[in-house]
């Protein structure tokens, strides 16, 4: 009888704790911005080290999209419109969503594990005892780096999916869609607001994934099991949050 109540109250407590943590991060951002070296270090760890998986995934998804799109469009004699299908699918949806899911799996889990291990090995407590605020020194630079990295990674993913290593390779080089038609369709159909919507989605997803990752790591139980749980929770909760936020944002953008 009390179990559902306990689950709800536990969820609300964690949500409140996470919200307060988010505000603490926001309060620490100005100080973190004054130390760009820390942010650049984390941009490398979070952004540059995620490039391989983003580039490869973008290429494969672009190629699959071209294959599936070509087969469907050919039935309607509209194979020349492959560029439109690819660019809308990638820029509006797949770019930000798949990048965010990959980002959660690669960078989010690494963030949670790193911060969780720092907690388990008393590094965060050690900083506090040295009068250094771990949120300002550890969490805020990582959060900011993730915030900046996510839209850049989404852009790279989209370019790979649409470009010469992805849909273009499969659609134009392999399947024989006209090269000029492919690029002109993309040029004519893609509007600046599509790019802005994609950017907004990337920033929102990046904020959500980073927030979840640093919260899970910072509040992990200081044991190996606790770090493991934090890492898993980061990927699961981030993935669900990305999909739910994508629905909300798409619905909002569709209306407007």
């Amino acid at each position: 009888m009390n179990a559902p109540l306990q689950i709800v109250s536990g969820f609300l407590r964690r949500l409140g704790e996470a919200t307060l943590f988010f505000f603490a991060i926001l309060a620490a951002l100005p100080a973190a911005l004054l130390r760009p070296r820390l942010i650049v270090q984390q941009l490398y760890m979070i952004g540059v080290l995620s490039l391989v998986i983003i580039v490869i995934s973008g290429s494969f998804i672009g190629m699959v999209l071209a294959l599936q799109g070509y087969r469907t469009l050919t039935n309607f004699g509209a194979a020349g419109s492959l560029g439109v299908l690819v660019v809308f699918s990638v820029v509006r949806e797949l770019g930000p969503v798949v990048t965010a899911l990959l980002f959660a799996g690669r960078a989010g889990s690494a963030l949670a594990a790193e911060i969780g291990l720092m907690k388990a090995t008393d590094q965060l407590a050690g900083m506090e005892m040295m009068a250094v605020d771990p949120i300002r020194r550890v969490v805020a630079p990582r959060f900011l780096a993730g915030f900046f990295a996510m839209p850049l990674l989404a852009a790279i993913f989209s370019l790979m999916a649409i470009g010469y290593g992805g849909a273009h390779l499969m659609g134009v080089i392999v399947l024989g869609v006209d090269d000029g038609a492919y690029w002109s369709q993309i040029h004519q159909s893609l509007h600046p607001h599509d790019v802005v919507e994609s950017l907004i989605k990337s920033l929102v997803f990046g904020t959500a994934v980073n927030w979840i990752a640093v919260y899970q790591g910072y509040h992990a139980a200081p044991t190996s099991e606790g770090v493991s749980r934090a890492t898993t929770s980061t990927v699961v909760v981030s993935s669900l949050a990305i999909l739910a936020l994508d629905f909300v944002l798409t619905a909002f953008m569709f209306r407007s």
Binding site: D122, A125, M129, M130, A131
Partner: protein, 273 residues
């Protein structure tokens, strides 16, 4: 000089009560840490010795009682004030708590870069002096995973004294150390306390080692101070708690058996029936 500064007591604990949930750790503990002395806190594992250091450092709050550092109630300070106070304390964690992404040099330089505002050349000289004091100047470029546990504690010690604090707290500094590392750490703690005029608190259950360098000792068990005095007085204590602890007796006031809800015979009978 303020009256607090002239007080012989640097850390004053009064009526300390602290519990983790229903598990009581401290139940009305009073103790004084004398300025410029090396005070040992002894007691069996799980008795809350590390907890005491975290309470003094303001990382945890007691349920009741006060802890004063140099006349200031640690737990009445706002966060900013607490951080200012911590610049006058150093805590050597049991495993060192070195930042694993920084070299030995950068670990020791960390508090200086964060707080001192000194130019990098001067920081470099100070760090090398601290590393020289703990005998690890040659290991400055190594990372924490490249050094032994004993070396990691020496690096942590160099870092703890980087800001030249008034108080250095050592959490189980000798645990798991080979005889050479143990001897080096003992000599370092003793020498630094003497030469730098530090006040030191050493929390440990390595009785012989700690009593050989301490000026004063408290034996804590069962949530209370069981006895306190000079090392000689502790060794001559008549307290059964203290004697069990000093002699390493398996049973006594600290029972061998963890309390069970039912007797052994009842449990066996329950299985047989």
């Amino acid at each position: 000089m303020t009256s607090a500064a002239t007080d012989d007591v640097l850390v004053r604990v009064r009526g300390l009560r602290f519990a983790f949930g229903s598990r009581r750790i401290y139940d009305g503990v009073d103790l004084d840490i004398a300025r410029g002395k090396l005070t040992a806190i002894l007691g069996p594992s799980g008795t809350g010795k590390t907890t005491l250091l975290r309470l003094i450092g303001g990382q945890w709050r007691p349920q009741a009682g006060t802890i004063e550092f140099d006349g200031t109630d640690v737990h009445k300070l706002p966060r900013r004030g607490l951080f200012e106070l911590r610049k006058r304390m150093g805590l050597l964690f049991q495993q060192g708590a070195l930042l694993t992404d920084l070299t030995v040099f950068d670990n020791v330089a960390f508090p200086l870069r964060e707080h001192s505002g000194l130019p990098e050349r001067l920081i470099r000289d100070i760090v090398l002096m601290k590393l020289e004091a703990v005998g690890l100047r040659g290991a400055a470029s190594l990372y924490p995973e490249q050094i032994s546990g004993g070396m990691a504690r020496r690096v942590a010690l160099a870092r703890a004294i980087a800001l030249e604090p008034q108080l250095v707290m050592y959490d189980e500094p000798f645990t798991g150390q080979d005889p050479i590392s143990l001897g080096v750490l003992m000599r370092l703690i003793h020498t630094l306390n003497q030469t730098l005029g530090l006040t030191s608190i050493v929390v440990s259950h390595d009785v012989a080692e700690v009593l050989s360098i301490a000026d004063y000792a408290y034996v804590v068990s069962g949530g209370k101070v069981q006895d306190h005095g000079t090392p000689e007085a502790i060794r001559a204590s008549r307290s059964p708690w203290v004697q069990q602890f000093l002699q390493g007796a398996p049973d006594g006031p600290v029972p061998f058996h963890y309390p069970a809800a039912r007797s052994y015979a009842e449990e066996l009978g329950a299985v047989a029936s």
